[in-house]
């Protein structure tokens, strides 16, 4: 059977403002990502010049014609109504957190709980950028915080400017999808 391109197969990149969603999509998208960015008026919250207000969009065009759409959710919580819309039917969510932010842990809890609540069976992979502690202990704390909420999700140190780091997150998402698939689907591979 051939996968056709009229299906919406999508992966969502979520997380607070400045966590690197646009950068991550740019790292792997086959086409230059389309961003609906405007001047950032929340400079107190995140010091970057522009931010995404609706969504980022990129895509992977597979050899058989299948398009995998890559969506970046707007980071600001006042656009949270978009999260549910974008995540509906998605193959999985990659949550990006800025580890250098003083709100990193609370951001992680808020976003992980929100996306887990929207769809508990949807694979969730968490990437933490700019971690302040090089020995991994910061992320151990984050992983424990996620696990204590009954969410089994990988939490990795990443630098989304590096394509291989974004690919690590994608590969993990694919492996989780594979593991969740019925046995018959495994055999097909």
């Amino acid at each position: 059977m051939i996968v056709t391109s009229d299906q919406e197969l999508k992966i969502v990149f979520a997380g607070p403002m400045g966590a690197g969603k646009t950068t991550a999509i740019r790292a792997i998208s086959d086409t230059p990502p389309i961003s609906t960015e405007v001047d950032n008026i929340d400079r107190a919250l995140c010091d970057k010049e522009s931010t995404t207000v609706a969504l980022d969009y990129g895509q992977l065009l597979l050899q058989d014609g299948t398009a995998v759409r890559l969506y970046g959710t707007p980071g600001q919580e006042r656009f949270s109504f978009m999260w549910e819309i974008l995540c509906g039917g998605a193959m999985g969510v990659i949550l990006l957190i800025d580890g250098s932010s003083s709100a990193a842990l609370s951001d992680l809890r808020t976003y992980a709980e929100t996306f887990h609540r929207l769809n508990p069976n949807q694979p969730l992979v968490i990437g933490v950028g700019r971690a302040t502690c090089t020995d991994g202990r910061q992320l151990d704390e984050y992983a424990d915080a996620v696990a204590s909420r009954g969410i089994v999700a990988p939490v990795f140190d990443v630098d989304v400017r590096q394509r291989e780091d974004v690919l690590l997150l994608i590969e993990t998402l694919l492996c989780i999808l594979e593991a969740q698939a019925p046995e018959a689907d495994h055999a097909a591979g």
Partner: protein
């Protein structure tokens, strides 16, 4: 530095696997803490030893004779015991406290022996037990001493520096590659107290070292894992720091969907049983593996299903991997 001689005596017929593990753990602790304690313990034959470590139930007829001859006999038990000095699994701190007491006791008996300062004596014995290095990592992770550093030598040449809590290590790029490829026999390294050289290699996360040490230690299941038990992950290891092989991610993902034994996980992750076993070992060293039933599983609530590729998930995932150049 005071030198003392110690012997570990394994029972002639081992009826319980735990006995071997208990003696291995004690051996690893001796090895890991060489140079960090007031007494230097050297492993020798029982006849030459001042202290002999035996299993509680060992019927060896030589034990009463050794005791009568003035040797200190330490009994390790593998089940609850009020009479044994150590009950397996014991903590490194318990073993070290016991060794400290024995050292004091021997000092009170007579003049301590000065440590041999010849170059040969400064090089500790090599341990070729496949799990000895991993056991050391597990032990120091438990002791949590972030003040000290240990230096690992290969043929007397320093090749790896390890902070004494195991959280950080440092090595030259070639050594790191060898660790990641499994071509450096970590179990053959000698480990002593030392310090990280100024301007030396940059520190890296210790979880990378312990992951690959656990993965390459043996094709068989780690001594502290049981082949009959189903395991699952309580959380994912930090693969961002470990940079695992693609097969490691598949095994880890397979463990999040359901608990399993090595062969079951292998089938689920489409990898060989050896690959699944080695990854289980690495997950255990990373301290993220639990026996099934030991923890509360996350609640599963039905949600909106994701769009399914019509050609089948396996074909789709294979296409995505090929497109992104991801290893399978």
């Amino acid at each position: 530095m005071v030198a003392r001689r110690i012997a570990l005596v394994k029972p002639a017929s081992v009826v319980e696997e735990k006995i071997t593990h208990a003696l291995q753990l004690f051996d690893s602790i001796l090895w890991a803490f060489q140079g960090t304690t007031r007494v230097t313990w050297t492993l020798v034959a029982p006849e030459a030893a001042e202290v002999i470590v035996v299993h509680e139930g060992d019927p060896d007829q030589r034990i009463p004779a050794w005791r009568a001859g003035g040797k200190l006999i330490i009994e390790i038990s593998t089940r609850d015991s009020s009479t044994s000095a150590l009950v397996y699994p014991f903590k490194a701190s318990q073993a070290l406290a016991l060794l400290e007491r024995l050292g004091t006791q021997l000092n009170l008996r007579g003049a301590p022996q000065e440590a041999d300062r010849s170059p040969e004596a400064s090089v500790p014995r090599r341990s070729h037990e496949p799990w000895s290095f991993v056991e050391t990592l597990r032990t120091i992770a438990e002791v949590q001493n972030s003040e000290a550093w240990l230096v690992a030598r290969d043929d007397r040449i320093p090749c790896l520096w390890l902070r004494a809590d195991g959280a950080v290590y440092a090595a030259e790029q070639a050594t790191i590659h060898a660790i990641r490829r499994g071509t450096l026999n970590l179990a053959s390294l000698t480990l002593q107290k030392g310090s990280l050289p100024e301007g030396g290699p940059s520190p890296r996360a210790g979880v990378e070292l312990s992951w690959f040490a656990g993965y390459y230690a043996s094709a068989g299941l780690a001594p502290w894992l049981k082949p009959t038990v189903r395991y699952r992950m309580q959380r994912w290891p930090n693969f961002g720091l470990i940079r695992p092989l693609p097969s490691h991610i598949r095994v880890a993902a397979a463990l999040t969907s359901a608990p399993g034994r090595a062969h079951e996980i292998a089938a689920r992750a489409s990898v060989s049983t050896e690959e699944a076993t080695r990854t289980l070992n690495a997950l255990a060293v990373a301290n993220v593996l639990v026996a099934s039933g030991d923890e509360v599983l996350p609640t599963k609530i039905a949600g909106a299903p994701a769009a399914a590729p019509r050609g089948g998930l396996a074909v789709f995932l294979s296409n995505v991997r090929r497109h992104l150049g991801l290893g399978v």
